[in-house]
């Protein structure tokens, strides 16, 4: 192994570690909200129970399946690029993007329904609710909204990866960008794995 080869190997290792460090900050960004949720839930158990019944568990479950499948397709795209099958990798990332789109459309209908019922922070209906329910819906919009923002950012990142594969900048010998894009996408999935039971399942 020549010294250039060695330094490139170190680069890809440190590049991935940098991504993980960033993911740690993301974990604590959402972690803070999870702690607020946990404390408020123990303080307003009754209100949280009542408010959680408003959420559509079916849409939540559908989006869980969508994200889990998309997590697999993005993991498979990494396998494909490692096996020098660029077209397969592009195809799999494209499927991931479509699934991200499905997730966002579901979110649109879900939020749209809440807005129709005037269940959004600061609305006339919301002001009449007990304090705990206001907290629940506030956290619901904050957590799912922040998560949806991550879905959009992840989608943009994976789109960039597709173009880099097409232009040959990401290939079998150098796929750090795709690896980091995939890690980011898995994080989006990880956060949802906790959001789904906490918001939609437990009532």
């Amino acid at each position: 192994m020549s010294s250039t080869e060695h330094s490139e190997l170190i680069d890809s290792d440190t590049g991935k570690m940098g991504m993980w460090l960033f993911l740690f900050t993301e974990l604590f960004l959402f972690g803070g909200l999870f702690i607020v949720y946990a404390v408020m839930r123990s303080k307003y158990a009754e209100d949280f129970h009542h408010a959680a019944l408003e959420l559509n568990a079916f849409i939540g479950a559908t989006n869980t399946v969508v994200l889990l499948v998309s997590s697999m397709t993005v993991a498979m795209s990494l396998t494909a690029i490692q096996q020098n099958r660029a077209n397969k990798a592009i195809g799999l990332i494209f499927i991931t993007l479509i699934l991200a789109g499905v997730f966002m459309v579901n979110k649109y209908f879900e939020w749209g329904h809440k807005l129709d019922l005037h269940l959004y922070p600061g609305s006339d209906v919301m002001r009449t609710l007990p304090h705990g329910e206001i907290m629940f819906f506030g956290l619901y919009f904050m957590m799912t909204g922040l998560h949806a923002l991550h879905v959009i950012i992840g989608g943009i990142l994976l789109t960039v990866v597709i173009f880099k594969i097409k232009s040959g900048k990401v290939h079998q010998g150098h796929y750090l960008l795709q690896e980091n894009g995939a890690l980011y996408w898995h994080l989006v999935d990880l956060i949802w794995i906790f959001l789904f039971p906490l918001l939609y399942l437990i009532t």
Partner: protein, 94 residues
């Protein structure tokens, strides 16, 4: 041209991992319908933790990463658990 040296997960491994994750999701949804009292929340969180561990290990390739990175990830999750524990100790005993 140097190649990045990484473990390659086969497609069949990825399919298996997805299948296990979907089964766990189904269990989680069905378990909610059984009334277990305060254990319901605990069970949902335990299943979610198992799912997260599987995603970290296989999809995020932690199983095949170097020890330093694995220790870092383990350490951060431990730190997060401590933060939650301290928050609740503070909340219940103030």
């Amino acid at each position: 041209m140097k190649n990045q040296e990484n473990h390659i997960s086969s497609d069949s491994t990825n399919w298996t991992v997805l299948l296990i994750l979907l089964i766990l999701t189904t269990i989680s949804i069905l378990a909610i319908k059984i009334h277990l009292g305060s254990f319901t929340v605990a069970l949902a969180l335990i299943i979610a933790s198992v799912k997260v561990t599987i995603v970290l290990t296989y999809f995020m390739h932690l199983k095949f990463e170097n020890t330093l990175l694995r220790l870092m990830v383990g350490g951060v999750f431990l730190l997060f658990a401590i933060v939650i524990a301290i928050t609740f100790i503070d909340y219940y005993f103030r």
